[in-house]
Amino acid sequence: MSSDTPTSDAEVTRRLDELAATATLDPEAWDKIAARAGIAGAPGWRWRRARRWLPAAAAVMVLAGIGASLLVGDEPDRVETSSSGGPDPAEAGNGGPGSDGRSMAPCPSQAGIACVERAEGDVDGDGAVDAVALFYELVDRPPAGRDAAAITVRVAYATGETEEVTLDGSGHAARLVGVADLDGDERDEVVYVVARVADTSVGGFAGTAGTGALHPVGFDEPTALFGASLELIAGFSCPDLDGDGVRELVMSHASLRDGTATLTTQTYRWVGDRLEPDGGRREEDEPADDRRAGQIRSEVRGPRCGGLDEPGL
């Protein structure tokens, strides 16, 4: 441990301190923070404050198929949908109804695109397998390298049509939770979550595709799921808890503190086309060491809502 060899510990500290001293500080950092946080008086604070949730909120509206043109007009670089009549050239092997869904490649095959997760499901309810993907578009941000500029959820239908929703990805992380029929309408919903990577609140959304335009379901505004950033949210599952043929959405989070593992779960049920929390969050504690905590995390992380053919990051 660190007290064994104080000389080398001190040497490690000296080395780290010297390296840290080479970091330069942005003299305008406070101005930027104040403006982004919406502190009154900072330049552009009203617009920036209003804009904080705009990408997520706008995405839901686009999923609704209402006001899309208005939104695209307002924020053309942030939110857009596309629906093409023919096959997407990037989707080689899209063989139509009954074809092997794995041969469909809804992620564009080009430099600068990082395909995060793929899934399969019957999104339009025609009995054929559709392909779904969540991918990041990366841009140069020297000297930091490449960073996410946009997050896109794309559905490549077995019919050859594609639909997609694109969100501003800067400073955000996203996961495809799964593709499953949550509301019992025999069409699978695409469930994904978007969160600011440094934030403790998370926006969760569920969307479904129907008659040529993505249709909204689920949360109509960013919903705080847990007091943890996205990577700490352990898992999502879609069981039919009450056996009524409509699946619920269960979100779980495992944490360990002072030898106690706490598993927090929150169930959401369908009320019309909205997901509403079913009661409060449920917490279960159990004594656990690091190993047991790891097991709990793995268990909770396990299969999500189905349809995923690649594990999340």
Binding site: M1, S2, S8, D9, E11, V12, T13, R15, L16, D17, E18, L19, A20, A21, T22, A23, L25, A29, W30, D31, K32, I33, A34, R36, A37, G38, I39, A40, G41, A42, P43, A111, G112, I113, A114, L138, R141, P143, A144, G145, R146, D147, A148, G171, R196, V197, A198, D199, T200, A228, S229, E231, L232, S255, L256, R257, D258, D289, D290, L313
Partner: protein
């Protein structure tokens, strides 16, 4: 800067903030004081974990922006910031991994002196979580419990990660 006009002397100590349901706008003086006392330290911590100055500033600024609406409710703004910065740094490293997977590795950080270069290289060889533990212990001088809180893990994990990380770093510094 017009924001400084909000500064009030004698405001509450940000580190003594207690949990509250009060949704009132936070007192800018305390928030700004937290910024003044923590920003540079957090940026250096993020820089050591990430290796990129610009990304480190982005991560720390994100953490401060996220803190603002919660300032009066969080028990310890400093602990909140450390946790946000560590999470943000690890998320940034994860995104960089994605970039590398698609063949776009970021520009390597520029470090002038050979010894610093050596330290950077040794740090970069540590897994991100272990690197964060080493940086928080030996640079930020946090206690094991504080590191555990920042990383959302137990002190046992911190101890084992510290032991392994230190062993790797010693191989470099004791050459």
């Amino acid at each position: 800067m017009s924001v400084t006009a909000w500064t009030r002397k004698g405001g509450p100590d940000p580190m003594a903030a207690i949990a509250s349901d009060d949704e009132a706008v936070p007192a800018p003086a305390s928030y700004e004081e937290t910024y003044r006392s923590c920003y540079a330290r957090l940026t250096r911590v993020a820089y050591l974990i990430i290796g990129s100055n610009e990304a480190a500033e982005e991560v720390v600024q994100d953490a401060f922006v996220a803190l603002y609406p919660r300032f009066q409710r969080v028990r310890s703004p400093e602990a909140y910031l450390y946790r946000s910065v560590v999470n943000g740094s690890r998320a940034w490293l994860r995104r960089r991994r994605i970039a590398r997977r698609v063949g776009h590795a970021p520009v390597a950080p520029e470090v002038a002196a050979p010894e610093l270069d050596e330290t950077r290289e040794a740090l970069d060889k540590l897994p991100p979580g272990r690197r964060a533990v080493v940086v928080l212990r030996f640079h930020a001088d946090l206690a094991l419990a504080e590191i555990a809180e920042a990383l959302g893990c137990g002190t046992g994990t911190v101890k084992s990660q510290l032991h392994r990380g230190l062993a790797q770093l010693r191989m470099v510094v004791e050459r």
